[in-house]
């Protein structure tokens, strides 16, 4: 009996490890002909299947940009919806090539769980949402509240720290997905829903009565979210990192999905634009890609600013301001190392 169980576990571990042993993710992706991208199970604005079952959103745009750069087609993406509990196992086991799922870059995930965070695509922080009629205007008044959280997240740990350091008690209601959390919160099974502020805004936007819910002013943590890959394949990590950087650089340099064709054809006085677009130098070859990689990545869904504006910006129901995610030249934190 014991033997059988152990065997099963080891078999599972062997299978688990099998995907990670191979180093050449780029070759795998090319041979397979599509990119396996781990996303969340459904969060408006970030990653969700639309009415035609096509995945849309801010994180999805990153998957599409990577697929465009590597495979030449932004639609060649296999989206793998993952819960906060399953995401890391799926990435470590090689079920997905890259994880773009509102995932916070932390020391333990980077160093101990052996992942490489390629970039920060959204600087976020944890907040609290309550119903207006609860009559609470600050998170410091939440003593004794029932709090809905997604388990397996940094949220869970920050929450424990926040209530502990403020000497308040609470009753955590652990939930697996954002959809279930939303349902519980709306049914009044908890007083508060807490997660990344961007997630709160996205969740609230999908309510029938968003005006009856408030996001409290306190932001209790730093949540730098971004795409991540497994340790051990630096070439692949570089590709994901520089595709992300290319999107920011494009915004810095004024390259948009509208003018990119013309810039590519006619060039630009700024040599960095020409290097990025593959008119000069051979940055693409250094990555193991062709010269047009960045052109395709930027054309997939636009530059960083365009991706932000179409999916989660102030013109959308989610209505997030650029804030920390403005370019560094405009008082924000989005900044890319030079393309040279």
């Amino acid at each position: 009996m014991t033997h059988k169980i152990l065997l099963g576990a080891l078999a599972a571990a062997a299978i688990l490890g099998a995907g990670a042993a191979q180093a050449q993710t780029l070759n795998d992706v090319k041979n397979r002909g599509n990119l396996r991208c781990g996303t969340n199970t459904g969060l408006a604005g970030f990653a969700f299947p639309d009415a035609n079952n096509v995945w849309q959103g801010f994180d999805v745009a990153y998957c599409r940009a990577i697929a465009a750069a590597v495979l030449g087609d932004p639609m060649k993406v296999d989206f793998v919806p993952l819960t906060s509990q399953t995401r890391f196992t799926a990435l470590a086991a090689g079920e997905v090539d890259v994880l773009v799922r509102n995932t916070t870059w932390t020391f333990v995930r980077d160093v101990d769980l052996k992942f490489t965070f390629a970039a920060v695509n959204y600087y976020d922080g944890q907040g609290f949402m309550v119903r207006k009629d609860l009559g609470v205007s600050s998170a410091k008044e939440l003593d004794g509240a029932k709090v809905c959280i997604e388990t397996g997240t940094t949220t869970e740990l920050n929450l424990a720290d926040f209530f502990r350091s403020n000497g308040m008690s609470y009753d955590p209601v652990p939930i697996e997905t954002n959809a279930a959390a939303q349902q519980q919160y709306l049914a009044g099974a908890c007083d508060v829903y807490t997660t990344d502020v961007s997630g709160l805004a996205a969740t609230r936007a999908s309510f029938a009565d968003p005006q009856n819910h408030v996001i409290l002013p306190e932001v209790v943590s730093k949540e730098p979210l971004g795409p991540l890959v497994r340790h051990g394949d630096d070439q692949w990590a570089d590709i994901v990192r520089w595709v992300s950087n290319a999107l920011v650089a494009a915004e810095e340099l004024g390259i948009t999905s509208a003018n990119i064709g013309e810039l590519k054809a006619n060039g630009h006085p700024n040599p960095e634009v020409n290097r990025l677009l593959g008119r000069e130098g051979d940055l693409g070859a250094m990555l193991g890609l062709d010269a047009n990689w960045a052109v395709r990545a930027i054309s997939a869904a636009g530059n960083y600013g365009e991706i932000f504006a179409t999916n989660i910006g102030e013109g959308t129901p989610i209505g997030l301001a650029r804030g920390l995610n403005a370019l560094w030249t405009q008082g924000g934190l989005q900044y890319t190392p030079p393309f040279r």
């Binding site: 740990l157 955590p172 099974a189």
Partner: protein, 421 residues
Amino acid sequence: MATTTPDYRQGSFRLSMLIYDSRYRAITIQIVFLMLLMAGFAWLVDNTIQNLRALGKDFSYRFLWQSAGYDINQTLIAYNSTMSHARAMVVGLLNTILVAVMACALATVLGVLAGVLRLSNNWIVARLMTIYVELFRNIPTVLWILIFFSVMAISMPEPRAFRGEAATASMLVFDSVAITNRGVYIPEPVFDRSLGDLDLRYFKVSVDLLAIIAALIASSWASGRIVARANRIQEETGIRPATWWLRLAVWVLPVAALLSALGFHLVKPVLPETGIPNFQGGIHMRNSLIALWLALSVYTGAFIAEVVRAGILAVNRGQTEAAVSLGLRPTLTMRLVILPQALRVIIPPMISQYLNITKNSSLAIAVGYMDLRATLGGITINQTGRELEAMLLMMLIYLALSLTISSLMNVYNARVKLKER
């Protein structure tokens, strides 16, 4: 003595005999199979070690002693987020045991009732029980868990509905029980002159509880003496003295005296008039616990009903007829003649039902009940990335739990089974 059997021992041993000689063949096959099994096992271990190394991960249980960092809503022993993952694991394990014990008890009651009633002569009752059995055992457990959970969460009033002048919901049983969409709040036993706690280093045990248990054990012993005495008198004189009032007194009086000495009373849950509307005080049975408890109980109860029915049908009809001709009423026939004999058939399959409850309780994650699977096998794995270590540990714990249950039940089985003289 002359024999016609050829004496093989005289011939020399040839290698081919390992296959063609029926005396050796079975052993050969077994040895080869064992070697293959071990080779397969070694390959798996080796592959695992290599893959872990390729991932840059080691195999270590050190994470168990690091601070867990997360909170758990239902804790039977003291716990907070600064304590270790090992402690969180124990909290989860105790929650698993709690719901398993509660569900085993309720499932047994439901199962025995339904099993007996299914054989009832009353057509409607028998049919109703058939419907219960077929409905519940043919739908997966996890669906029942979710159904009970959703019913609680959606159809019960929110705590705020209990508040203010225009309250739309009210508490039951002299304002002591509140059924809300967050679970059921019931009064909590409190001791004014408590004897305090016994500190066992890792956890504390209430001395009050120990005292009550001691009193109950003493009562049980005394009650046994009274019955033994009645038996003796019956054997000597043929007349059985009435014992029920003596036994009742022996069971009730000591505990009652002890409770009043300890200053026992119940504290009702109350809803604060201002602030966040959430009941304070009392015992909070969360929706997750209730859903899991009820679902596991009614689901497994349906199986137990079948086990009980089979056990009763296994008792020869002649036994019933003999009991009836002695003038025993049907209820007494069932209690004194049929059930004791049926138990012999019922207990062994019952063990597997109890094991099923324990293992099925790991479906708790579906409703966020913080059992072993949710703490060690869920949050701890997720926060530390130690899948292999935690999974192996968790399997070991479930295995140990199951073996304990089945050995306890086997002891009981040995006591009720037919004693051949």
